[in-house]
């Protein structure tokens, strides 16, 4: 047994209103530069819908993730030799059209056009070719089911369950069961992108499990892009290197949540540690039955309150304050204790570490429309039994099609809603409601505190990187402060793709944390306006 720590995230989909604030702030912080205009480390997609890039979940087409071959784990895109033979032209690489062609507008025309009969217009112009273009697709073209009748039927998840869904029910489903799915890199325990990288440039940080790309070692073979079944590694076409969500590691290292979490309007994201047995990951991912993968993944997660686990963790070099943080971890509680959070597509066998609490609200809404009391436990349980379609859809997303864990999660949420209504209305609380989902009154109250009250300190339990190693951290790769990086320094001697990356300064982020958490309003200082180093205390003067 080798215990390692993993920073994980849980998103409570019930609270997501699809405002895209996470996507926009993430873009401002990380991908607001040439070469990754089309890349969204964080995106929010409407379900049902095709997702971004289009139909990425169709692994029959894209061949991402792992598969079992004669009981052994193998990348779906083939073995090592086959991959090396494909480095000259990766047959499964999405093109820009599968994401979208980024564009800008000829804003200059609005002020530089001479006075004339017609009002000047700012035509869209491709950021790739510089030529005028017709906008026909973007990262969120089917937002809020836009173009639903044409686009939603191509949703790979819908295609999969189509056999069970008649057209009539499907349409009803599309109207009643729309929800949003925010996605970032899953920082998997068994990452297919890392396994596919021929250069060995991608790695999992041993300290916190964050998956990163060493920008100095990446040679642009593009195998990670096609290897990732979630399509969350992007190819920077300006620098010729792969880039991906970094889980905002410079912020995490000083105890701040990621930009997407920090700015989430619905406060639906949770960050905390998992302790897991690294030696058991491959065996868990080789679980024969796809429906057994969720349980195998849960079994990897170790109880931080178990003295044996603590002892072994200390022996394996996990510091005491990290162990303390693991005990308070909201993500462990939601995934393993309450079993309300589920991983996205466990059947890809990557052991993803961003978990989702499935949305109950669509069920409540549907119930309310029928004129019933939509917060009564009995009604909700009944609705969950009868409304098979949303559950089957959610099961395809989160449990490889097994409806039992989804039902259990939704029932727990329904029980919490119903039980707490009695408490809040001053009625006698009914202990039989929590009992119906196998929980005590106390634990359902704790779940309510975590999900509904959702205090900042409860949502984010982030142990700092150790001060004595902070300087070493600074030298870890993945800085993007190069030409075309967030720092936008001068290009190197060989044009936009060359030059030396400047490391992200940990000191900056320590200072940022002090500024952000201070009680007094500090005077404006002349720092560059950038959401990553904005201190939340008034505007900057640039």
């Amino acid at each position: 047994m080798k215990i390692m720590a993993q920073m994980g995230m849980v998103m409570n989909l019930d609270k997501c209103i699809g405002c895209h604030t996470c996507s926009v702030t993430c873009k401002q912080a990380w991908t607001n530069r040439t070469g990754v205009e089309y890349a969204w480390f964080n995106n929010v997609e409407t379900r049902p819908g095709q997702g971004y890039p289009r139909t990425y979940q169709d692994q029959g087409k894209w061949k991402g993730g792992w598969e079992l071959k004669r009981g052994k784990l193998r990348l779906r895109s083939g073995g090592r030799i086959k991959r090396l033979l494909h480095i000259f032209s990766n047959p499964k690489l999405p093109t820009l059209q599968d994401y979208y062609e980024p564009w800008t507008y000829e804003y200059d025309m609005l002020i530089s056009t001479p006075l004339g009969e017609h009002t000047p217009v700012a035509r869209p112009k491709s950021l790739i070719t510089g030529k005028p273009m017709k906008i026909e697709w973007s990262a969120n073209w089917d937002d809020d089911l836009a173009g639903g009748p044409e686009l939603a039927p191509s949703d790979p998840v819908l295609v999969k369950i189509r056999d069970q869904v008649t057209d009539r029910v499907k349409m009803e489903f599309e109207q009643a069961f729309m929800f949003y799915l925010p996605r970032i890199c899953e920082h998997c325990l068994n990452p297919a992108c890392v396994a596919a990288c021929p250069s060995g440039a991608m790695y999992k940080r041993a300290e916190d499990g964050i998956v990163l790309v060493d920008q100095d070692a990446c040679r642009g073979w593009r195998m990670c892009v096609s290897g990732c079944p979630y399509k969350k590694v992007y190819f920077n076409h300006n620098t010729g290197k792969a880039e991906k969500c970094t889980l905002c590691y410079p912020r995490l290292e000083v105890g701040l949540p990621t930009v997407c979490s920090e700015t989430c309007v619905g406060r639906l994201r949770y960050l905390g540690l998992f302790l897991y047995d690294a030696d058991a990951v491959t065996a868990a991912a080789e679980t024969e039955d796809e429906h057994g993968l969720l349980q195998a993944q849960l079994d990897l997660l170790l109880d931080p309150n178990d003295p044996n686990v603590q002892l072994q963790a200390l022996r394996d070099g996990i510091p005491q304050d990290w162990l303390d943080a693991a005990k308070e971890s909201p993500v462990y509680k939601l995934a393993k204790e309450y079993k309300v959070a589920l991983p996205l597509h466990p059947e890809y066998r990557t052991m993803p570490m961003v978990w989702y609490i499935p949305p109950l609200s669509p069920v409540v809404d549907a119930l309310r429309e029928t004129g019933n009391d939509a917060e009564d436990a009995g009604n909700l349980f009944g609705a969950l039994e009868s409304l098979r379609i949303p559950i089957e859809y959610l099961a395809e997303l989160f449990t490889a099609g097994d409806t039992a864990p989804v039902s259990q999660s939704l029932k727990t949420l329904a029980a919490m809603r119903s039980y707490m209504r009695d408490v809040n209305l001053g009625r006698d609380p009914k202990p039989e409601i929590p009992a119906a989902v196998g929980m005590s009154e106390e634990s359902i109250y704790n779940l309510y505190r975590l999900l509904a009250i959702a205090k900042y300190e409860d949502r984010y339990v982030i142990p700092k990187a150790h001060a004595e190693t902070a300087r070493d951290l600074e030298e870890l790769a993945c800085s993007l402060d190069v030409s075309g990086g967030p720092g936008q320094y001068q290009p190197g001697p060989f044009g936009g793709a060359s030059g030396r990356p400047v490391p992200v300064a940990v000191e900056t982020f320590h200072a940022l944390k002090v500024r952000q958490t201070t009680e007094v309003l500090i005077p404006l200082d002349a720092v560059r306006m950038n959401l990553q180093n904005w201190h939340g205390q008034g505007a900057t003067d640039e």
Binding site: I87, N90, S199, D216, R471
Partner: protein, 244 residues
Amino acid sequence: MSASDILLWVALPYLTIAVFVTGMFWRYKYDKFGWTTRSSQLYERKVIRIASPLFHLGILAVLGGHVMGLLIPENWTHAAGLSEDAYHLMAVGLGAVAGACTLFGISLLIYRRRTNGAVFAATTRNDKAMYVFLVAAICLGLLTTLVGSGIVGEGYNYRETVSPWFRSIFLMDPKPELMAQAPASFHIHAVAGMLLFLIWPFTRLVHAFSAPVQYLFRPYVVYRERGPHDPGSRTARRGWERVG
């Protein structure tokens, strides 16, 4: 032997080697971030699907042919029982096929680069200059194959002059007089080749030296940690070295 022979067949080769070696070292040390294939597959998939493997596999075969022809002495293949005629036939046959694949591949790639707006926009001046040298070396090489084989003009056994000269450079005992005897087409191709290697470290061609062979032997999932003796993923920069 004239001064130009000395210049071309002694001075130029050593200059090329010196610039190539120091250039590659310098580039690797100071521009790891710029060391990439800079693939344009994201922009266009269909043409590259055929052209790129054709070119790359072709040029690898050409490389193999050069190793055979230049590094392995004639008497070794004789000793192995391979007659000059048989060797010649094999070399010309395989060489012509590989060369044709390479030339067709790079022609398609350049056509794609010129006609696809996105790919053309991503082409730097450095790339364009590099293409001139690369295509020149390939075309002249094919021409030399045709001349040497006897398809055009009289055949020529380059393994008696060019190859020993090539080896003599690396044995630090240069024999320019051997190379001076070779036909002009060999001279031009050799110079074009040396010029290509001269600019190599300063172009995107460096990616040829990162062929990921080690991928076959490493575990699938890579972990990196910052131990006390191995901080970070790369060596500390000047002024940031660890103390004690």
